[in-house]
Amino acid sequence: MEATEDLALMSTDSLVIEVAGCNTISELFWKRVVDLPDKVALREKEFGIWNEYTWADYGEQAKLAGLGLIALGLQRGDVCSIASEINKEWQFADLGIIGAGGICNGVYPTDVAEQVEYLINDSNTRFYFAEDEEQLDKVLEVRGRTPGLEKIIIFDMDGLQTLDDPQCISFDALQTIGRDYANEHPECWTERIGAAQPNDVMVLTYTSGTTGPPKGAMISHRNMLYMTQVLQDVYDITPDDEQLCFLPLAHIAGRMFYTFAPMESCSVVNIVESLETVNQDQQEVSPSIHFAVPRVWEKQYANIAIKLKDATRFGVWSYDWALAVGAELAEYLKAARPPPLWLRLKGFCAHHAVLKNCRKYLGIHDAKWLSTAAAPIAPELIDWFWALGKPMYEVYGQTECTGLATANVAGDCRIGSIGKAVPGTEVRLSAEGEILIRGPGVIQGYWNNEEKTASTIVNGWLHTGDVGRIDDDGYIYILDRLKDIIITAGGKNITPSEIENRLKFSAYISDAVVVGDKRPYLTCLVMIDEENVTKFAQDANVPFTNYTSLCHTREVKDLIWEEIEGVNSKFARVETIKKFRLIDQLLDPEDEELTPTMKLKRKVVNVKYADLIDSMY
């Protein structure tokens, strides 16, 4: 057994991964710059105008940044960190760092100063890119305790014109240094590009460790090249495709989808103006391929659900009718069979009366497909998008396998499952039911953390920490995080995320955490959807002043209980929620309870709200 496993491991490792004849990301990037100088690579909306950047612009900007770093002393294998909201400079700096042979680590702009300090020290960051004043101040606050940090480079100098600090320079100044360096060393850039090796680490992605501090996953050129191939296999992306870039680039999903996949497919990436303008920007771009996290889809659904509350009776009736027709059509679409004529006729009416408008409103009208991952999603929600006429495919993966490991694809899709293993990747279950992954996407390990590496990647098999099952047709289902499985005092195993997903499907519930480990029954903590619950309270004439008092009104409690009862009816008796409490503080991503994607962190919630939880037992 051991011997065959080792053999298989060697064969995956020796597999040559090439995209367009290139075996490193640096090489592939530069090939696109040279071959497609005039094709638009990026667009960024600034003050309401979409500015275009061709591959030649992209290459030039990245090259100047990269050479600037080299002039300042960047050696191959040195780590640089970027703390910024998504913008073109993020992308330029990223490719500059990678092209120069450095390793690029993304920092969430919502991270607080202590986290920044940890990340700089743990990753041995030498060069730190800060978006603006705000990001700069965080690093200035901690730089006394980050001895390895050499230079801070600032993208946006607004309000910093008078800054006089030998450790800080602007991004423009860095590029000027790069330009001068290029004049003296014209061959340097292409030499560095050529020096990259497939197994060189090029990206560090810190994973929000629920146990212990975050760990830096080391992603190599080869890992990422493989992932671009996988994305092409799964999604069939063409050079004419338009993507909307709005998820954080510090996250693996954003990085692979907005930065690296377009190097394979040459699709166009449209960077939103700000996170507040995403809805409008999406309507304007109407992306032809669209990937988002469940929270975004939940918001889109809630958007329509709430609009419907203000609709006329006829409006509601037509919506219900059109969605029922859409759902019927979707069954044919899923099975790739042509629908019968009468259904096509009804579908035509439904499309023009309702569905088209919904899709335009959501900005998904031109999307060939929608894709979701990074968190569990309610199957009902996926069905809803299918009924709107847009196929939605759930995919699954982790930072530690550079993104995707399994996917539902057109013509081979089962809702509720995460699909089957992507080409080149193997998936199996351990004896405990844990999902194990092996393939060219699996990382070499965690940065400076051999202990964690050894416990996570065993004989080439990545231990995901997710419990799953595989059905007779090979579709894989995720049950929950291994450590999140609840065993009630009665000895019943319960997978909380299944219940939580159903709860989140309610327009009034933003997130929920089910509790009940070693307890007689299940309870949950609920974070309400502020906008929708506020609207409910207004409509029902419930007096309240602010978020806290809103949570304490009887009507809101009744409303949430009704939603919970609805979910309860779908589960067995031992799996029903008996009591709940609302989290009466309005949380934002800077709070430790929330992930940057606004999900509640189970562990933190369990500790921080222990009193509230105890009050239910």
Partner: protein
């Protein structure tokens, strides 16, 4: 004389624009309560809705337990709510005394003379200028006149809309102390809208903060003064940061 006010879920529109998106607040009899917020937050609209100058689409306003919403402004004034509008709005061509007597227009009781003297006691400068046209008064004196005129209604509640607007610091302090005295000596309940947050927090016991037509925070003024968002966004107290001269703002959390 009581004078409690309960506002529940009011929604008020300017044409198609929703200015108040569901505001509930409570002013107990004998309290001074302040309503804070940036320009355009909807503070003035709340006062106008209470005094009947605007009708809400929705919601209720109760004065001492009786609904007053959708009553005409003059009826509401007769019930004992005096609204001192932003920008004073004195009658410029009437004399000071005529202005004051206009405040008692709806009263038929014999106390009017007494109240007139009381107003002159509070604002001796008005006595000095009683025969002058109100338009010739300074801004601070006009503000006193506007408050005095409201006082002539013998109100249960006074709604004060930015009484410190455009006044010199000396007048601001004086007006503030008079508001406190009116509240303590005459038992008048006060709902105060102010841009001068420091003064407002000093003289009132409870406060609400509005933003974009909604209340985002409420608490005793003691606690509001300690809240970091109030300190940074309303009191201009901010940590200068490591560099000095920090310009970016924290995200507001309102806790």
């Amino acid at each position: 004389m009581a004078g409690s006010l309960i506002v529940k879920n009011i929604e008020t529109y300017y044409g198609p624009i929703m200015a108040i998106r569901g505001v509930s607040l409570e002013v107990r009899a004998g309290q001074i309560v302040t309503l804070l917020g940036a320009n355009g937050a909807g503070k003035t609209t709340v006062l106008k809705t209470i005094s009947g100058a605007m009708e809400p689409q929705k919601g209720s306003v109760d004065l001492d337990g009786e609904p007053i919403v959708n009553l005409d402004p003059d009826v509401i004034a007769r019930r004992g709510i005096a609204h001192v509008p932003e920008g004073r709005e004195v009658f410029p061509f009437l004399s000071v005394e005529e202005n004051l007597l206009m405040g008692a227009y709806s009263r038929k009781d014999k106390g009017v003379r007494n109240d007139l003297h009381a107003v002159y006691d509070y604002f001796p400068v008005l006595l000095e200028k009683r025969a002058q046209a109100a338009g010739f008064l300074s801004g601070g004196q006009q503000q006193m006149l506007a408050i005095g005129r409201a006082l002539m209604l013998a109100p249960r509640i006074m709604l004060l809309d930015e009484p410190s607007l455009g006044l010199s610091p000396k007048y601001v302090a004086e007006i503030a102390s008079i508001i406190t005295r009116l509240n303590q000596e005459r038992g008048i309940t006060v709902l105060l809208v102010e841009q001068n947050v420091k003064v407002a927090l000093d003289i009132s016991e409870y406060g609400y903060v509005m933003e974009n037509g909604r209340i985002v925070m409420e608490d005793t003024t003691e606690r509001l003064k300690q809240a970091t968002d109030i300190q940074e966004f309303y009191l201009g107290m901010k940590d200068e940061g490591v560099r000095g001269g920090r310009r970016w703002k924290q995200r507001k959390t309102w806790r």
